[in-house]
Each structure stands twice: as structure tokens, then as C-alpha cells.
Subunit: 296 residues, 2 copies
């Protein structure tokens, strides 16, 4: 038997995964003591069960990790055999190498913590830039659920004559996959990053966007500066208002207002992080990836 448990705020993910795995879904009791410490309780007998803890590690990634870790240890104390983590958004993937001497490679350290807490992990399109695969960072079995098929369905249904646009070289992995899945062309711009909130992006070739609706795709929209600057370049090159799609709606700043001001038609996101902009459901690829690891 398998049971699905949610980290607070991820009840919808848990319900959708439970339905696709045809398993029981448990909402653990998680609360805070007045001093900010976490209390967890799961009033179930889990002897012999496989447990799947579901929750994006955002916002408050440190606290979300500790919740996942405490829930995993609790289900083990209650008799569960294997414990998996389904983190639709995986935190601490950003710092994957030393850019300056002495920098902590936090993606590696965080990977070791998660690998010590659970037996396997599923995540949606993690921020793999300078690392080729999660196996370089995580020592437990992992599977990546890809959002491209679901994004392609949304683009095919909602956008006329789309041309997919990647704002930087790193985005080619998502943009190409979506373009192929919906039979549309794509173009990749070039980005230079000078700081957390300071980027410049090249203009697209006019002929690549003429008579089409540009669909900007990036994996994470945090400050939104990349998406805003790419929108500005597209509009300046004479494109119709671009539609923006992000896989992970981190939205650290007020991205929506800035994007609208820059001339975007709108922004939609996958539902890895709960946000009003969620339009694209990735529950199917998540469930497929989880099934593979549960069957091992």
C-alpha cells in the first residue's frame, strides 16, 4: 500500500497525485510553536506502507526542507518502509558550482541533506544549468517530470501561430521540447547577467517573429527581470504582445505589473508552485515519474 502526505499548502498536489496513484491521501497535522519550531503529527498506522511526501520547497525553502525531513522521519517511526519526496519545485539548485573561490556549492550540500532524509525524489524540470543530471547532485534515485508536453498542449490550444522564444541559452532545453511537441518554430535570445536584478538580452531577428505570436518560456520567474527584458526586446523588434510562460512561479517581486508595462499579453505558469497565474497542470507527468520510482 502507498499513502500520499502533503506538506502544508500542497494539498492540491497531494489530492491530484493520490487520485492518479489510486492511493490514500493524508493531511498531516503541522503547526508552529510560538517560538517558530515545527510540530508534526500523523494519526495513522503506516506499518508496511510506502509513503510519498508531496510539497514544493518554496516559499521558505529551509523550513519546507525541515518539514519534509520531519514528516519522513515520522512516517518511518510509524512503520513506513520506503519514503519518497515529490517536490514539484526543488529549491537550492541555483548555486551548482563555485563562481568565486570560497563559495559554498549549496545545491550539492542541499542534495546531500535531501538524500539523507528520503529514499527517492521526483521533481519537475529542475534548474539544471551547469550540471547535466540530478544524479550528479543527489545520491538517491530521482526522476524528472517534464512539463513540456503539458505546456505544448496549452500553447496549441490558446495561441495562434506561436513562435516559441527562449530568453537565454539555458532555456533551450525547455523551449525546444515545447516547440517540437506543438510543431511550432522557436528562437533563442542571448542574455548577459550582471546581478540578481540586472540583465541585458539581445533583440530577436525580425523575420523570426513577423506575423506570429511570441511565446516566451523560462523555467523560473523570480525577480522577472529576464522575462521583462526579453518582452521589451520583442516589442521593440515589432512583435505582437508576447505571451509569457514560466514553469515555476517563484515571483519574488511584483512581476505581473512589470511584464504588463513592458508590453506582455500576460503570464501563465505551471502549477508546481501555487500561484494565481497557474494555468498548466503538471500532475500527469509527476504521477508518471512517481509510478516509476514506486515500482522499483
Amino acid at each position: 500500500m502507498t499513502v500520499v502526505l502533503s506538506i502544508p499548502g500542497n494539498e492540491d498536489h497531494a489530492t491530484k497525485l493520490g487520485a492518479r496513484l489510486a492511493t490514500a491521501v493524508i493531511t498531516p497535522e503541522v503547526r508552529w510553536f510560538p517560538d517558530g519550531e515545527i510540530y508534526v503529527r500523523i494519526a495513522e498506522d503506516l506499518r508496511g506502507h510506502d509513503a510519498v511526501i508531496v510539497g514544493s520547497l518554496y516559499p521558505a525553502p529551509a523550513e519546507k526542507f525541515l518539514m519534509a525531513s520531519f514528516l519522513a522521519a515520522t512516517v518511518r517511526d510509524l512503520g513506513a518502509q520506503r519514503v519518497g519526496l515529490v517536490a514539484p519545485y526543488l529549491a537550492f539548485m541555483r548555486q551548482d558550482v563555485q563562481f568565486k573561490p570560497g563559495e559554498g556549492v549549496t545545491s550539492k550540500y542541499f542534495g546531500a541533506l535531501v538524500s539523507g532524509a528520503v529514499d527517492w525524489m521526483v521533481t519537475v524540470d529542475p534548474h539544471l544549468h551547469r550540471r547535466a543530471a540530478l544524479e550528479e547532485i543527489y545520491t538517491i534515485p530521482t526522476r524528472i517530470a517534464h512539463s513540456a508536453s503539458e505546456i505544448a498542449k496549452w500553447v496549441a490550444a490558446e495561441v495562434e501561430r506561436p513562435v516559441l522564444v527562449g530568453p537565454d541559452a539555458e532555456s533551450v532545453q525547455w523551449v525546444r521540447a515545447v516547440a517540437e511537441a506543438c510543431g511550432a518554430p522557436y528562437v533563442i535570445l542571448e542574455k548577459t547577467r550582471r546581478g540578481d536584478r540586472d540583465v541585458s538580452i539581445t533583440a530577436p531577428q525580425r523575420e523570426a517573429i513577423e506575423g506570429k505570436t511570441p511565446v516566451l518560456i523560462d523555467d523560473i520567474v523570480s525577480t522577472g527581470k529576464t522575462m521583462v527584458e526579453a518582452t521589451r526586446q520583442l516589442v521593440a523588434a515589432g512583435s505582437s504582445p508576447p505571451m509569457c510562460i514560466a514553469i515555476h512561479a517563484v515571483f519574488a517581486d511584483d512581476v505581473h505589473a512589470e511584464l504588463t508595462a513592458a508590453g506582455a499579453a500576460g503570464i501563465v505558469t505551471c502549477n508546481t508552485i501555487v500561484h494565481p497565474s497557474n494555468r498548466i497542470c503538471v500532475a500527469d507527468p509527476i504521477a508518471d515519474a512517481a509510478k516509476q520510482l514506486l515500482a522499483r
Copy 2:
């Protein structure tokens, strides 16, 4: 060679410990990305060094743990041999058994995480109630730095005809040690806890407090409800305004105003958690405990 590194906000602890160990003190670069992820950098060559990371795991205990863990991994990547953690206040000591079926025993889980992150640990008077020793929770070598000698010096210097008062049976460990160190009598009250912010406490015997200044001592003041209720009982029994002492200034609520309203003369704390009420420095017992583990 040994180096001392501070978790942000604990620079004073690091300076005092570095002075007592006659070692270099390093302030690591720790900052947040816009999405709340943590960045750490230590621009030093630490090959062959012993490293001591200093920081109370409060406020934001989950984030403080992750900072300590990332700093420990970074100093190891920089060549450090052994890494110790000096956490003047140790979080997640509260939930040390299951009170109800299915509760996560978070002190055990957190102990396993810390034991995986560093090689040894020092803390000041941890909240050991139902566990007799840190060794039941932590698998790494640990030492407890006791604040009693420093509290006793403060009481002897500042309070005339003191009688030490413990608000509940659990406080006897700190209260007796302080009373013996300053040659004063002590009395222990009885507490019933009905919730995070709901306690009742028995009145003291009038003869135990007559003609004396009560000095209430507890290890943690969080909501302050225990200290406030004990103050009320003392005042109702005819005592002069009690002086309140807490080892760890958690202060989740506005304790000072409530204590004053209840009739307390004031509240002073040890400097394990930085707070305006800090009057009693525990740097000497911390350094003595760290020296024992560094010498192993």
C-alpha cells in the same frame, strides 16, 4: 590551527569565543537570493584547520540550521578537518517524546540532522526534560556549557537576601545549581500546563519568601506565561517584587510588559540569544566546553 566562524547575528559570540580560544575569527559572507535561498562564501584557505561555527539556532531555527549546515560543508570543501558547532541556544529540544500517538519526535530528528552536519557540538543548558542527556539525542560528541556559575555571580552582586524560585519541577536543575553557587535558599513551585499559552502554578509557602527577594529562574522564556503566572503567585503570597532570570531569551511574545504588569521587578537573561535583556555573559563556560572538544 582553529578558526571561529559566525552565523549572521552571532558576531559577538564569535568574537568572545575567538578571544578565549586565541584563534582567528572569520565573518563569512551570508546573503539571501531574492527567492529566499541562502548564499554562503568564506574567502579563506582552511586546509588542515579545525573550524568552529558559532550561532544560536534562533530566531528562524530551520534557516539557522541550514546556514550552519552549509557553512560546515563549505569549510570542509575549503580543507578544514573537523567542524564543531557552538549553538548557545539549541532549537527543537521541546518535542522529546510522543505525548500523543503519531507525533514526530522532532528533537531526535533534528539531532540526527545536526549530527550529520558537524563533528561535535556545544550548547548552553539545553531544554532536557524527559531526556537525561544530549547523548540520547545526538550521536556526535557534545558538551553542555552551564550558565549556573555566571547567573550565581549576577545574583550575588545584584540581589539582596535572595531566595531562588523555580516555577516548575523541571526548573530544579538550574535553580538548585544557582542556589548552591551563591549560597542562597531555593523553593520550587508546581506547574500545570494546559496549552502553549495556558499554565497554572501553585503559590509558594509564605515563610519561604518572607523578608527575601525572590529570584525566579527558568531556562527558556518564550510566551512568558510561566514566568508571569509564577510572578503573580509570588506577589499574591506577599513577596517583594521578584526578579526574573531566563537563560534563553526566546521572547516569542511581549513578555516584558506582561511581567511588569504582574509585579516583577524586571527580567534579565543570559546572552545565548541576543536581546536587550541580556545581562549575564556565558562566554566563559562556552569556551571551556569548546576547549574540551577541540582537545579530543
